[in-house]
Amino acid sequence: MAHNGETVTTTRMEPGEFGKKALILKVGNERYGLLLDNVVEVFETNTDLMCIPGAPAWILGLANNHGRVVPVVSLGVFWELETGSRSNHIVLVECEDESYGLAVDRIESMDTVSAEGPEVRGRRRCWHHGALLELIDPTYLTKELFARLDSEQSHAQVDGHGAA
């Protein structure tokens, strides 16, 4: 994973954009829409995830998708939301040659959404069936995830040297 620091470049969602398919997810009590641009597939994990020692808490482990091993990230833990029971459906995202799974509480549906309002930190408010939801840009999300991972790894190294 590459680390781009604070200056992240994303594919901007323009206001009044039509015809964008988004996956409607539920994380905690919030509903999110994930644009299908970087979504490869949704797969099911019938077995437990393989844990990664030393990994952050929001990386749940490794999942096997048709022989390809991908890390799985919990959006609820990452966004520090109150999460309910996690479903065994994992959304496989592929962005900038990086593949990872997103563990969500529930995949509600897939729908065409129209983005409303400006994009702020990769998120944009939009209406869906009379209710507001945040449309997430996978590219921005990927960068944010990798930036957090690099930051935590550097902190861990500093702490390790300090301890030594």
Partner: protein, 422 residues
């Protein structure tokens, strides 16, 4: 020779001598002095046998007087007849003999009187003693009679009280008998009612058995329904899984169609339809699962309620069985009690008859006791009279004893031939 003969001979000899002297004088005519001498000689000569005889007579009279005096003084020891006068010759001897006979008879009589007096004294003494004893016995009898009289009075009172008590007891027994008859009737009615109740309870138990069988069948059906519902749940879970898989596949197909761009638009439409169908199926399956859960919960609650009801019914059946047994026992007890009450009634009637007989017998006893009391009073009066008579007898006996003593004393004044010394 008799005394008058002797006196006549003496008189005649004197007269003869005097005549002889007178004749001699007249014939001889002697001097006066001869006359005088002859007369005096003849007088003297005639006086000699007279004096001798007078002497003999005097001695005899003296002796008779002596004996008579001694006999008069009560001394009867000497015999009146001497050996010389063993043969009675004249009146004096005869008088002596008679005096002797009188002495002997007097002595015998005195012996007899003394013996009789002694016997009378001892008999009187014994009579006195006997009278004292009889008097003591009579007093004892009198006291006993008084006690008997008092006892008879007490007995009479007790008999009256007993009679009253037995009459009261008879009335109580009669009331008991009536109560026993009522109880017998009531127990017979109770027995009939209990038998009817037992039959009704038996019918209720039979009906309850039918209800139990129905409930058991119902429970089995509910169990079967629950099992079938679980099967439905399993099927619904399969459907849900299939729907989710379909949904997942539809999403993935949609994603693929979206990635294919315009070429995949038609496929995307189909995939979207499939996804919607899968969502509908999933929602319906969820609804079915919810309904199945509700049905399962309801059937479980129904089974639980049925089990509870069955348990209550089982307890009720047990209690009903216990009630039937209790009713049977009540019937048996009531029948037994009825028999016993009838026996009690019969016994009470017999007791009443016995009590009446007892009252009669006690009345007879009372009459007898009253008669006894009267007889006791009569005996007491007789005892009092007897005591008075005994007192008189004692007094008379004492007087007789005294008289016998006096008589003995008087008789002992006579000295008999067996008395010596004094």
């Amino acid at each position: 020779m008799k005394l008058r003969t002797k006196i006549l001979i003496g008189y005649l000899s004197t007269v003869c001598l005097c005549l002889c002297a007178v004749i001699v004088i007249f014939l001889t005519n002697p001097p006066h002095w001869v006359w005088f001498v002859v007369l005096m000689g003849s007088a003297l000569l005639s006086c000699i046998p007279g004096c001798w005889w007078i002497n003999v007579m005097g001695r005899k009279f003296h002796k008779l007087a002596f004996h008579a005096e001694r006999i008069g003084a009560g001394d009867l020891r000497e015999t009146v007849l001497s050996e010389k006068t063993a043969k009675p010759l004249d009146e004096m001897d005869r008088l002596a003999e008679l005096l002797e006979k009188a002495r002997v008879g007097y002595m015998r009589m005195l012996h007899a009187v003394r013996t009789s007096t002694q016997e009378a004294g001892s008999a009187s003494y014994m009579l006195t003693e006997l009278a004292k004893r009889i008097d003591a016995s009579s007093r004892e009898i009198s006291r006993s009679m008084e006690e008997m009289a008092r006892g008879a009075d007490v007995q009479n009172e007790l008999v009256d009280q007993t009679s009253a008590l037995i009459a009261e007891m008879a009335r109580t027994i009669e009331r008991t008998s009536r109560s026993a008859e009522d109880a017998a009737k009531s127990s017979s009615e109770a027995s009939v009612v209990a038998q009817s109740g037992g039959q009704m309870a038996g019918q209720a138990v039979d009906k309850m058995r039918g209800v139990f069988q129905g409930i058991e069948k119902y429970t089995e059906r509910v169990f079967e329904f629950g099992e079938r519902t679980k099967e439905i749940g399993a099927i619904v879970r399969v459907i849900t899984d299939v729907a989710q898989q379909t949904h997942l596949l539809a999403i993935n197909a949609t994603i693929e169609a979206a990635r294919a761009g315009d070429a995949g638009r038609g496929f995307a439409v189909v995939a979207e339809e499939i996804r919607q169908l899968a969502e509908n199926t999933s929602r319906s399956a969820e609804k079915i699962a919810g309904i199945v859960e509700e049905i399962t919960a309801g059937s479980q609650e129904a089974v639980k309620a049925v089990k509870e009801s069955t348990r209550h019914l089982s307890e009720g059946r047990d209690q009903l069985t216990s009630i039937i047994e209790a009713l049977d026992n009540i019937v048996a007890t009531v029948t037994s009690g009825s028999d016993r009450v009838q026996i009690i009634s019969r016994l009470a009637k017999e007791q009443i008859a016995g009590a009446k007989e007892t009252v009669k017998a006690i009345e007879n006893i009372s009459r007898v006791a009253q008669k006894n009391a009267k007889s006791t009073e009569a005996v007491s009066r007789s005892a009092e009279a007897q005591a008075k008579s005994l007192y008189n007898v004692t007094t008379l006996s004492s007087e007789i004893t005294e008289l016998a003593g006096n008589m003995d004393k008087e008789v002992r004044k006579f000295r008999l031939d067996d008395d010596h010394g004094a």
